[in-house]
């Protein structure tokens, strides 16, 4: 049932109409894409028209520049609305151009759920940098985070998606909200004069937007050019079960799943390799070797009395390596040093934050005098009101 498509004749990674959806087609990469440099420009053109890409960048820059906060007496509100409309047009145009190109060139598209998530994410990000109130900015950032969690799910990174909700939306952003409430005087009305001076207007909006969206055009063009040259993924085997290869390293998980399925009689367990401790099972042929263990011999090795093999019919349906298994094994097996480094970074940050935040601040003389005057006036008012 598994067809193998040889990509020897495929000069580009995309858009050649190999429809992978009509069966379990597996790709075997016999060689890398041919280094035909004339193709680079075509790679961009197969995803989006370059002219449209630059037009979108220009429109986006204009929209952001107009939507950035400015004082109301300079027509701030109207400008914000115009900028927002421009940005909406930009989104629509971008989706349209991507869709047109993809429809014409027959290359597969991302899941349809991608488009709402991308729109919500980018819209939230834009509103975050254009909103005048810091609290709303933080809340829009949470929206962006949740939209990117959706994209993580579409990219089959389930654990990271939920970790992101917990860590970012649950912890980091709440800290931000606390600090915003600690450090700003909340304006009561909707008037600009009541806003903090620092939030009322942006610094150099046109220049910054222009530079930013030139950067976006360059980044996108560079990425889309290079993406045809990405090496194909490497796997041990080309069968769909290849993802389960990590189960070899997780014998206890295999034991647990077998036990749950009543496939392990008393005293039996999955056979382990004597030297490496890896489970003896064949993820391609779907066979598992079991062993009956009775105590240990003089060298501390388990005493194997009997073995038997579970055939592929008996392979439990829920015995597969999920995202968490693969991620956890990768984290602990391939990057153990980075866990230590991360621990040190977090410890240092905690120490530094504690030291910084508890430092007693000596106000400067004029600020002190101003505060004393304010307090005096307040007390005077109260006494005046009482008498």
């Amino acid at each position: 049932m598994v067809r193998v498509v040889d990509e020897e004749h495929a000069s580009l990674g995309i858009g050649l109409g190999h429809n992978t959806r009509d069966g379990p087609v597996r790709r075997v990469c016999s060689k890398r894409f041919s280094p035909d440099f004339g193709n680079e420009r075509d790679t961009v053109e197969q995803i989006i028209d370059p002219i449209a890409l630059y037009l979108i960048c220009g429109l986006g820059a204009a929209g952001v520049a107009l939507a950035l906060p400015r004082r109301d007496r300079e027509g701030g509100r109207t400008m914000t609305i115009v900028g927002g409309l421009l940005l909406a047009v930009t989104f629509g145009l971008g989706a349209l151009m991507l869709g047109l190109k993809a429809g014409a060139s027959d290359s597969p598209l991302p899941n349809y759920f991608f488009y709402p998530f991308a729109a919500i994410g980018l819209g939230g990000a834009l509103r975050m940098i254009t909103h005048k109130r810091p609290v709303y900015s933080a809340l829009y950032f949470i929206m962006t985070i949740i939209a990117s969690c959706g994209m993580y799910l579409l990219l089959s990174a389930e654990f990271m998606a939920f970790a992101l909700v917990i860590i970012y939306a649950g912890a980091i952003l709440i800290t931000y909200l606390f600090v915003i409430m600690l450090a700003t005087q909340a304006p009561t009305g909707d008037k600009d004069e009541l806003l903090d001076e620092v939030d009322a207007e942006a610094r150099e909006p046109y220049l910054a937007s222009a530079i930013g969206f030139v950067l976006i055009g360059l980044l996108t063009a560079a990425m889309f050019r290079g993406i045809g040259d990405l090496p194909q993924p490497t796997r041990d085997t080309t069968l769909p079960q290849a993802e389960d290869a990590v189960l070899l390293n997780l014998p206890r998980k295999v034991d647990r799943v077998l036990e749950r399925n009543d496939l392990l009689p008393e005293g039996w367990r999955v056979a382990r390799d004597a030297e490496t401790g890896r489970a003896i099972l064949d993820v391609d042929a779907r066979t598992i070797t079991l062993e009956l263990v009775d105590g240990e011999d003089a060298h501390g090795h388990p005493n194997v009395i009997a073995t038997r093999v579970l055939t592929s019919e008996e392979w439990p349906a829920d015995l597969s390596a999920n995202n968490l298994d693969r991620l956890g094994y990768n984290l602990l097996n391939d990057h153990p040093m980075m866990i230590e480094v991360a621990g040190i970074i977090l410890l240092m940050a905690m120490l530094g934050a504690t030291v910084l935040a508890r430092k007693h601040v000596e106000l400067e003389e004029d600020l002190k005098a101003a505060q004393a005057r304010k307090l005096g006036a307040y007390i005077g008012d109260q006494q005046g009101g009482a008498s």
Partner: protein, 117 residues
């Protein structure tokens, strides 16, 4: 040609064409640049640090997208470390913001303009 449900994407990651990954990379680049523009234009220090978080987020999305293409868990592992650095950065930055606010009673980055050499 157009399919609403791609169940293979959700259960076992299968190899995907690069044209599936490209839109994610575009979103990542756009998010990064929006964060950059926000960092350059806004005067409020809290929002500036929020923009750096947005840039971290964009980098994470690109890592996950490339990890998806290579069908390995390395991309996701790196996002864990990006989260770690982001958390450390948030703690330090916010402590610093509170400290600076207590000094000048203002969140503006321009309240400290005499620092520029």
């Amino acid at each position: 040609m157009l399919q609403i449900i791609q169940p293979a994407q959700l259960a076992f990651p299968e190899p995907v064409e690069a044209s599936v990954i490209a839109p994610y990379l575009f979103v990542s680049a756009a998010m990064f640049v929006i964060g950059l523009v926000g960092f350059l234009t806004r005067k409020n220090m809290i929002i500036m640090f929020l923009c750096t978080e947005l840039m971290f987020q964009a980098a994470g999305l690109a890592l996950i997208a490339f990890g998806r293409h290579h069908l390995g868990a390395d991309g996701q592992t790196f996002v864990i470390f990006v989260l770690c650095v982001a958390a450390a950065e948030a703690a330090m930055a916010l402590a610093l913001v509170v400290l600076l606010f207590r000094h000048r009673e203002s969140l503006g980055a321009s309240a400290w303009k005499e620092l520029n050499g």
